[in-house]
Amino acid sequence: MIRIALGLELRNLARSPLRVLVLALVVAVGGVVTIQGQNDVDRWNRAIEEGVIAQNNALAEARAWFSEGENRQQDRPWIDLRQAHWQDIFAATRIVRAPEPLAGIAFASAEAGAITMRLNRFADPLVAQGDKIENPALAAAGGLDLVTVLSLLIPLLVLALGVEVGGYERASGLLPLVQVQTGRDRSWIWARCFAIGLIVATVALVLCTLATAAAGAGPQDALPLYALALVYVGIWTAILAVVGIVSRNPSHGAVGLGSAWIFLCVLVPSLGVERSAALAADDFALDLTIEARDSRNDAYEMNEDELYALVYDRWPALRDKEPRPRRAGILHARDGVRIVGLESRLRQRVDQGQAHRQLVESMLFASPALVFTHALERLAGRSPASAQAFREAAVDAVANRTELVIGANWSQKALGNDDFETLVKSSPRVAPMPIAAWHKDLLVLVLWLLLLAGLANLLPRRMSQS
């Protein structure tokens, strides 16, 4: 029966210029966004390379001074590379957020966190900007990338190809005939849906293959993409079956499928965005701005005991390096207090983000489009979780390096090339990214699929238009 249905659907497709046009449009748009996605990844890599070049130039300048036996540039006599402060400035390496192999599929993601950052003890990863200058007028449009094509346009393709499934048979009186001939009218509708699902799945897999080939991604990245795309097509095929089983005629089916698409791809996500706007309404980041500035100033009003206690609490190993007199190390002790404040603000932000994360998690069960988008953005390394991991890695690197700088300053000796190189090597070059946790999302999608398939089988069948 499936073979007959597939033959029918392919003939229907070949006969209908409108359907061919829709299919060609989806493939064409998918191809264009794949190329665009790869361009975006190239830009990302270029930004990293330019950062590394700038970093290497600064390092080379300092190394040249060391090799010439100088500690400074001729026209900047106040620079003294024997001091910890200047070593920290000139040994500022960059930490980068390397693009994941499939980063191109989600290049229109609204996540715009930093991808490279200069590390020294004055760095503030919590307010660092992304590498792109964004035109907000374009960003607000929602973006068109492979994630959008797969999550919004592929369901539309299912709709376009399957709008008449069930409704046509009832309107033309064919369904009772099918039942008389085969005794399985529901199976015929399922077979037609399956055939359409097969055609759409082929399109989705072609687009996924294009994207993985363009990115040079390995099977470990490609397989989750294929699996997610297939289950997602399966969900829309099941929705098609549900509508096909109850629709009275093609018009009824069109409205039913259109409504399902609008409900799951527009209305439910928009409720989530509205809620996230409400959660963000009173966040004017006083903790990252005015309070952060105040806490930096507070460090100047602390007495020595308070300052040193805070520094030792954070870096117990520094206790053994306490300078004599203590006053000599107070400037860098204040740096330590500033970093303690930075870490505290990071924790506070992670807590504040909890409400948003819970909202996203709860919304995943409300719409397969959302859970699919969520999974793909994670797979592409473009989710807020990746941005957060980068911030955390950067703060961690700043804190570790500050410990070295404080220790170097408190040693009260003239620093040399070895100290400089130790500082250069102290920070990681690439921030570790979280493993894309797409399994849970896949499971939710499978649940959606089973639920809808079950619903399609449980619904009382309608034999005619009445």
Partner: protein, 471 residues
């Protein structure tokens, strides 16, 4: 006659279960979105005011320090939402809310709190403007795709014509019935906003209402025309839903992607490096070996007729800092001007899509009316930079002239707390409606063409029906 037909159509829509459901849902969403949006807006306004107060308190509470220290201490500017953002928040979710204004550098707007749920931002927010532009138009499509075709399928169309109803009257009545469905939703949104809003700008609200009623006119005309033109309701539904999906969901994204791909913006590092390179040509207020600084120093010494800086009655540092600021301002004007031109070029590409998409034209005009579009954002950045310059200029002047030589001949600061208290907080002055709309002529033209085109299409369809009947 037409009024009777319109009333009958309304009855038919409300009698039909699908019509009742769709219309009821539309009303529910309109009320809900306006209510939630107003409440979000009110909280945002209160938080913004609290943030401004906190910044002000920090400024006033600080002990009297040198003007130069104060210039580095800086001030935070928190973007206000604007009274109309409860109806259309526009670009505010994707623009930073805070700008740190300080000496020597112009900072970007930072902090987009919705980034924590960035996965959701791919989708449209259920804000009143979206309810009208996306959902109310969908209500019209769903309520009206069979408004004529189903009459034809059931044979009632012929009956009406036999009774003497002319096609033009019939289509006009059906169009008006559908349009008034949209108008009711517009009135519900605007009415709810008027009830819930604490501050109201009637002129803008009136324009907002008129704009969305215009979109409803276009959509109602197209729905009626297509329904009359095609033989089957199913075909009408497929065509109209495709039009809606294309216009409301796909084309705006395609327009944005095209604009970004055709004329990409420079990376932040490249942009800042270019600014930095130009800036380094100027004075570095902190570099005593800078040649230009030495020249300026000589000029100032000559101006005051003294030989050494120790004899100057003013602080040389403040004058040099201000000269550097003025140079930096020129650099910023050049680079930001180019960037602004670039953003506008991209926006122009998006604007061209309005010619083929009435949803987009309406969306852009709606944001402009609400003061939440691109022009308003750029104006906010411009006013913030103006505020920064004035702040730093006054502080540099105080640094230069707020001094006096003591008996030992050393410069002493005479700056008092009152000087710092005399600074006003940043206040954003929104663009006037005509200033905002002036940059969106293409969108206004596009919408006007759509109104004209849709009306002509409806008229021609009616004429076609007459011809078909005669033949």
């Amino acid at each position: 006659m037409i009024l009777t037909l319109v009333i009958n159509e309304w009855r038919a829509i409300l009698r039909d279960g699908r019509g009742r459901l769709v219309f009821g849902l539309g009303i529910l969403l309109a009320v809900t979105s306006t209510w939630t949006s107003s409440s979000t807006f009110a909280r945002q306004e209160r938080a913004q005011e609290a943030a401004v107060e906190a910044a002000r308190f920090a400024w006033e509470d600080r002990e009297v320090d040198s003007a130069h220290s104060r210039a580095h201490f800086g001030d935070y500017v928190f973007r206000p939402s604007g009274v109309m953002s409860a109806l259309d928040p526009g670009l505010q979710a994707v623009t930073g809310r805070i700008v740190f204004t300080e000496a020597h550098r112009q900072n970007d707007a930072i902090h987009r709190p919705q980034q924590a749920a960035a996965e959701l931002l791919r989708y449209n927010r259920l804000e009143p403007s979206n309810v009208l532009q996306i959902l109310a138009t969908l209500v019209i499509v769903l309520a009206g795709f069979g408004i004529v075709s189903s009459e034809r399928e059931s044979g009632r169309l012929r009956l009406l014509q036999v009774q003497g109803v002319r096609p033009r009257q019939l289509l006009l009545a059906k169009h008006l019935a559908l349009w008034t469905v949209g108008v009711v939703l517009c009135l519900v949104v605007v009415g709810a906003n008027l009830i819930l809003a604490e501050d109201v700008d009637m002129k803008r609200i009136g324009a907002f209402l008129g704009l969305h009623m215009t979109l409803m006119w276009v959509v109602a005309a197209l729905v009626t025309g297509v329904s009359a033109k095609v033989e089957r309701s199913g075909t009408a539904a497929a065509i109209l839903l495709s039009f809606w999906v294309g216009g409301a969901i796909v084309l705006p994204r395609l327009a944005a992607m095209s604009a970004g791909a055709l004329d990409p913006l420079p990376g932040r590092d490249v942009f800042q490096a270019a600014m930095q390179a130009d800036r380094e040509q100027g004075l570095d207020g902190h570099n005593p070996l800078d040649d230009r600084r030495k020249e300026l120093e000589q000029e100032i010494l000559a101006k005051y007729g003294v030989e050494t800086r120790a004899e100057l009655p003013v602080s040389l540092g403040g004058l040099i800092m201000q000269a550097d600021e003025e140079y930096g301002a020129k650099v910023w004007d050049k680079h930001f001007g180019e960037l602004e031109d670039h953003l506008r070029r991209q926006d122009h590409v998006v604007g061209n899509f309005s010619l083929i998409n009435p949803f987009q034209a309406t969306n852009r005009l709606s944001m402009a009316l609400a003061g939440t579009g691109l022009n308003s954002h750029l104006e906010f950045l411009r006013q913030t930079e103006h505020y920064r310059r004035e702040l730093v200029r006054r502080l540099n002047n105080e640094d230069a002239y707020g001094v006096a030589r003591n008996e030992e001949g050393r410069l002493e600061r005479t700056t008092t707390k009152d000087f710092y208290l005399s600074f006003n907080s940043f206040e954003y002055i929104p663009l006037r409606i005509n200033e905002m709309l002036a940059k969106l002529r293409m969108d206004m033209l596009a919408l006007a063409l759509w109104v004209l085109g849709a009306t002509i299409y409806l008229t021609l369809t009616a004429r076609g029906m007459t011809t078909r009947n005669r033949s």
